[in-house]
Subunit: 363 residues, 2 copies
């Protein structure tokens, strides 16, 4: 079996008994029932992931930033030059980006993974080279990747997840860098949810009105040129081959790698906090490959990109942070990490009505 | 001059020049302009608070939980017995409450301040006794407090803020405990914004439909009995005496103390992260006493209580965390603390386009 096949075979749904135990435990804690709102469900989810109540604290956590370039950049879908991908990789490795500041603040490691940057990168501490191509091909003219390239990118993500867990990570955090990658995200969200490009396509990191119109047109063309509406995973009954074909047709190398990162987390029974629209679209691909993998995901934040809310709705995930971020890099997921930790910490530290001698209104 | 008068005289608006410098600095950092959304404004606000760009990291932070009881409890506005206030104070001091778990997670100290619990509390480490009364009087029958009691409670909050800052706190976090205290919050929000009780009153920590109807009726009666619509601060031109009279009429001792805590933070030029609807209603009182004090506030979270959004709108504050929490204790503000820290950290750690050699699309 291939690494992808082995991984898919290893993924099980979250443990429903541990989740039920976690819900019952929440109700005994010295707080009104349900008073921690969305965080109670986060703790329940992590109990299901770990098959344990209370679940272990998600510490330490590891951020992986998957970096790649995009052939569709040539169509003028973003005001940023393509070389910014390479420059930002250098910035991550030097510790100068927002993701580094947030990672330092919340105490997570940072690993940068080159799955397809359009330049040769010098070796550096913290950089993992899994380059599959010097960027994708232009999806508005044909498939962005070959199917073997897409599988290789997914498997790169799986192996990064495995390696980080083997090194001790109890929680994975997804990040991305790739100028033009919100264009591929919009196309993937159309492909996996059936929405029109006008609904899924946003301004990314700063497209003006003219660029946004062009971007929507390019997303439509990419879907049409690649016949993607005809291979929609929903319609194809969720076949693995169909999902990989869609990913190859209109995805990015980092999207494919993040899909693999999610699958790798699920196979290792470790939670993964998703960043914004890049991770959200990659999670749609992961869900098409293995629906149970989504049990292992926590939506870190809701991006300002309109397609992200559509993707989260489709996945049944609710974002923890909603602060109009539109940066990527894993920044939104890093901000969510202390919230996830706090949700789990409650399950360990908080007294019960009985143990604390507090009167319970419901007993 | 009284402590209150001295404090009001010491409050200055946030430093507009430092805020402009912070905005300009944000635009030089290696990220698209505005890409950190709401967090950019948090960093700008903290620059204004500290009169420095970048502002100092808000570390260490100190949580103060102001605890008190409410005479209006006798009207059946909550399903929880009044003794739960005392029991939860013991739980905080034993480290067993959710606020303790969150404080441990984000690394802040916890101080519990008795400003009006309806029982004698044994001395304990972490407990500050500033008891003004054994709970308020029933506001549905007359004023909850005398004016001197309200002033004493405000001054208790001021002195707690001063003491925590003197002990090294660079950021204050507001918390509360008081069975029935969302009833007083709803009344204060009506008084300071002119809204009807039906809009400001919610289920607190678990009122059923019948209790909610009674609670709305009691809030209306309290406002009427005390003639509060006639002394509305908005209408009274924001006089200090008017604000104190309103606080005394329909507030709680912890509401008055938290208003003082905000004033104390502003006078010390230290940021204060507000928790939910109790702090939001107290902040309306603080704003009536000293409008510039709100420059020093960060809204930690948006509570599920409907009056809270009204209060935040009136104050011009946007909450950072929105997870349907309805617990109080400072829990929502504690969750926001790492977000505030991250926002400031960006100003210290992140490279500029020039320093990192990253191409800026806008230059």
């Amino acid at each position: 079996m291939s690494v992808l096949e082995q991984t898919l075979a290893a993924i099980r749904p979250a443990d429903r008994q541990a989740m039920a135990d976690a819900r019952a435990h929440q109700d005994r804690l010295t707080k009104p029932r349900g008073a921690l709102g969305v965080l109670e469900e986060v703790a329940v989810r992590l109990a299901g992931v770990a098959s344990a109540c209370p679940p272990p604290l998600p510490t330490p956590a590891a951020l992986a930033i998957f970096a790649a370039d995009h052939g569709v950049h040539a169509q003028g879908v973003t005001p940023w030059p393509q070389e910014v991908t390479t420059q930002m990789v250098a910035n991550f490795l030097a510790g100068g980006a927002v993701a580094n500041a947030f990672a330092a603040q919340v105490g997570t490691s940072v690993t940068v993974v080159d799955v397809g940057v359009a330049a040769d990168l010098p070796q550096a501490a913290g950089l993992v080279s899994r380059k599959i191509a010097y960027g994708t091909a232009d999806m508005s003219l044909g498939p962005a990747m070959t199917v073997p390239q897409a599988v290789a990118a997914v498997e790169a993500g799986i192996s990064v997840a495995r390696d980080l867990v083997a090194a001790g990570a109890a929680c994975l955090i997804s990040g991305d860098m790739g100028i033009a990658n919100t264009t591929a995200s919009a196309a993937l969200i159309c492909a996996f949810t059936g929405k029109d490009a006008a609904e899924t396509t946003g301004r990314g990191t700063g497209a003006d009105d003219a660029t946004l119109s062009r971007k929507i047109e390019i997303v439509r063309r990419a879907l049409q040129v690649n016949g993607v509406p005809g291979t929609r995973v929903d319609e194809a009954g969720g076949s693995v081959a169909g999902a990989v074909r869609t990913l190859a047709a209109v995805g990015g190398l980092e999207h494919a790698a993040i899909a693999g990162f999610i699958l790798g987390a699920a196979a290792a029974r470790v939670p993964v906090i998703l960043d914004g629209v890049i991770a959200g679209s990659a999670a749609l691909a992961a869900a098409a490959l293995a629906p149970d993998a989504i049990d292992y995901c926590v939506a870190g934040h809701r991006s300002a990109e309109p397609g992200h809310a559509i993707a989260l709705g489709h996945l049944g995930l609710r974002a923890l942070v909603d602060l109009e971020l539109r940066l990527g890099e894993g920044t939104g997921a890093l901000l969510a990490y202390p919230l996830v930790s706090a949700a789990v910490r409650v399950m360990h530290d908080v007294a019960t009505f009985d143990s604390a001698g507090v009167t319970d209104k419901d007993v």
